[in-house]
Amino acid sequence: MAKVKPRVKVPKKVSKGEIIEIKTLISHAMESGQRKDKKTGELIPRKIINKFTAKFEDEVVFASDWHPAISANPYMSFHFRAEKSGAFNFEWMDDDGTVYAKKAKLKVSG
């Protein structure tokens, strides 16, 4: 598995009022808790990212609760109506309390 690394894709040339697609991807095993260790027969404990939030200028605009049925290296895309330029802050919360974060700027013209 790759190191836990988030990536986001925010469109570059955006006009005011345009509804854009934001894509996110994070490398994470999303261990479901259903798999057994081949050698010991023990269940490998669950360890997933259970929440994703997207904030624009510090306000939550989109959020999602994830369960073990979300595939490894989870991908999620959503839409956003671009009214003004500003900063996105994306966060992924791991079962163990770790928060992975990524920022992105949005430039809106017009």
Binding site: M1, A2, K3, K5, R7, A29, S71, Y75
Partner: protein, 269 residues
Amino acid sequence: MSRMVKFASVLLGLGLLVTAGARADDDAADWGAFQVGDLRSGYTFAIPETRAMQDDDFENPGFLWLDDGAEQWETADGAAGKACVDCHGDAADSMAAVGATYPVYAPEIGKPINIEQRINQCRVERMDAKPWKWESRELLAMTIFVKNQSAGEAVDVALSDDLMPFYNDGKAFYEQRRGQLDMACAHCHIENAGAQLRANVLSQGQPNGFPLYRLKWQNVGSLHRRFRGCNSQVRAEPFAYGSDEYVNLELFLTHRANGLPVETPAVRN
């Protein structure tokens, strides 16, 4: 695994194993660069959703490892304090042909060498660093990064006289029956490519997208990992990663794929 046992007991003979039938878009007109004469990339056997995942650099999970590889390229490692970039500069230039032309003959070892082995050879002999383990995150990332520099280029393995004995060895392996199921690679991937094996459509087993992100693995993996899986599934003892058998097989297969585009990192089932 009970599924395997059930399958083996159902298997009565090669003729009953495979049923005619193919995906609707199999006869789909134009596969563009993904088909060269009779050669068809695994891309053409995948469903549209899987192809879409490969086509988008952002959505393709393999690119997570490619990014790691790009970072590793610039990171010094080993007692010599060198990073790949120190000798090789911009990978887009220095590695441009590697993905399309390997395996090549390595006179210093008297046999073919593949990309994973060349990376480790460099690490040990020139960087004074430890070799990376097969299927380690680092080796996969670096192999993907290097091979991706040739993405879109046609595979072009040249068979010199030196390589012929190894090529022939690989070809013999491909045609040799093995395992409890007594099957050769050729049975599925040449004689029955395009046909249905239970719910799977058999591809030609082309290597041009490796290392690739396999949905089944939910991870990237090397060509040799796929070989080991295939050998296990006909109930044959798999060979070691980087074994002569597999490097020769890789040589044979990659030459067979000449003309198809390098797709690393591809996305397959």
